[in-house]
Amino acid sequence: MTDVAAQSSNVGSATPDTMAWDSRARRVVMIYLPLACFIVILLFPFYWMAITSFKPNAELLNYKEHNPFWITSPTLAHIKHLLFETDYPRWLKTTMLVAIGSTFLSLFASTLAAYAIERLRFRGSPYVGLGIYLAYLVPPSILFIPLATVIVQFGLFDSPMALILVYPTFLVPFCTWLLIGYFKSIPYELEECALVDGATRLQILRRITLPLAVPGLISAGIFSFTLSWNEFIYALAFIQSGANKTVPVAIVTELITGDVYQWGALMAGSLLGSLPVALFYSLFVDYYVSSLTGAVKE
């Protein structure tokens, strides 16, 4: 839009030279400058996190002699402390287990649900779809107290299994919604042909629909993985023992001890905890952005 605006503003200018300059200057002020500000502000906390993780304590707390924005003698001490003197590797393993487990469970449940709603077209299927979608609007902060008692009843308190079973409540609605959109984009004629050729519906799902829906499955998988990696309130409420905690909860509850905060270790923990999702996400970023924009267009 602003492209057009930049061009139109030149209509009044006299010579082509001033026009070109005017347009370029205008673009810098109107687009590049604000964009650069946004990027700096959005990335600064990560930069600060990263730089703190590698700063020796002497530099960390002395702004008078050391420029806080740079490290003169980087150190791995904080990361070493984190990996060898705390339970951090275990927390990472638990988080990974929970994220992968709940992602597979949610993908399984929501693929079948989306297939039933979009492809089998029974009476009331739009309402079932709406019902599942509305579940997304029930926030975890309302549910965690009664869910805690349910988890205790099932004997799952303090077990990562509880999280694997509970996370699909917010993953399934979103994945189902996303996959319905994907199934919609696969031509129905393909399935009809297979039906005519005598394939059963399960064969059609396995051989035709699912392979074609792989991009949708991947983006639903990324969503699920990142959301379960990020989840906080359930993990905080249902897991008690230090060893079974997930990274986000463990850092807040186990690494912060007393009044003296070990900022280096805390930031190193945050950085290492962010890396898996950031890496995972960067591998599939195109799917991610396109599915996000696609989901909104729906």
């Binding site: 029974f122 009664p146 519906r201 909860v249 996000l292």
Partner: protein
């Protein structure tokens, strides 16, 4: 053609066994396909939701099942200044953060909608704050807000010399409240920007061309084309954002835990403090349930308030 509704037994090349035939019976297949999703949601969402509402009317504590006490919990909340302060801050937090997120997010979306080099890389970078676990970036903000070693204080005091003392971000109520809101806005901008960017891309360029021929200024084009065309998406994204900002938990828990002097409690953190940490499940559930009316109201307001324009223009609802 009735191929879509009839099982195609007769035409099968390979003779299906009874199990395959059972799976070709549509009602059975529908039930099988829906069971995992609906089962999970029923056991871990619908049932707890009902249980939560029931718990709100009991005096249950951890380790002891309670009895029905009617509206006692709610009566107690109404006389509890802390609950009122949490209600106030939840509304204030949601209102200011949503405004900030949408103003800045919309601006960023308009910027990203231009052509410039490394476009997709920049879009990917912009999403980062939204991808990274909230608690972990909240810790980075906590460190940025440190009373002694805040980098913002360093900039203001030592570099720019605008202040002589460090800023006390989290030590007193109002600065702490605004500090949390800033962190929330920071985290929310990417999602708003990318969602609205998707909306911007659906607007046909011919509308702008027509408007330019009619001599519309840039502001007029924004006001009379971009803004009205964005209303439906704005309504949906804002509804989501309001729900999840109002029920936010992580940021406050990680940065202030409700302090100083309980001034930054949101309803969710207060419910956690009373319900899980304090063991008063009934009272915690009542606080959580008290969020529901606000949520319903905010949802209806944002959704219908913004979507209304669409019907006025006589567009089809999709």
């Amino acid at each position: 053609m009735s191929v879509t509704t009839l099982p195609s037994r007769g035409m099968a090349l390979r003779q299906p066994n009874w199990l395959m035939r059972l799976f070709d019976y549509k009602p059975f297949l529908v039930v099988v396909c829906l069971t995992p999703a609906i089962g999970l949601l029923a056991v871990f969402l619908t049932y707890p939701l009902g249980l939560g509402i029931w718990l709100a009317f009991t005096d249950t504590t951890i380790g002891r099942s309670g009895v029905y006490v009617g509206l006692e919990n709610f009566q107690y909340l109404l006389s509890d200044p802390l609950w009122w302060s949490a209600v106030f801050y939840s509304i204030f937090y949601t209102a200011v953060a949503t405004f900030g997120k949408f103003a800045l997010g919309f601006w960023l979306a308009l910027l990203l909608n231009n052509h410039f080099p490394f476009k997709s890389l920049i879009r990917a970078i912009v999403l980062l704050p939204w991808i990274v676990p909230t608690v972990l970036s909240a810790l980075a903000f906590w460190w940025i807000y440190d009373p002694q070693f805040s980098i913002i204080s360093y900039l203001l005091v030592d570099v720019l010399h605008w202040r002589t003392t460090n800023v006390d971000f989290l030590g007193s109520p109002w600065p702490a409240r605004f500090s949390l809101i800033v962190a929330n806005i920071w985290r929310g901008i990417p999602f708003v920007a990318i969602s609205l960017l998707a909306g911007l891309q659906t607007i046909s360029p011919s509308l702008y061309e027509a408007a330019m021929l009619d001599g519309a200024t840039a502001w007029q084009r924004f006001r009379y084309i971009t803004f009205p065309m964005m209303m439906p998406i704005l309504a949906i994204v804002m509804t989501f954002s309001i729900i999840f900002t109002f029920t936010d938990f992580q940021l406050v828990y990680a940065i202030t835990r409700g302090g100083p002097v309980n001034s930054t409690h949101l309803l969710a953190t207060l419910a956690f403090q009373r319900g899980i940490a304090g063991g008063e499940l009934g009272e915690g559930a009542a606080i959580a349930v008290s969020m529901i009316p606000f949520l319903v109201f905010a949802t209806l307001f944002s959704y219908f308030g913004l979507a209304r324009r669409k019907w006025q223009q006589g567009e089809a609802n999709d």
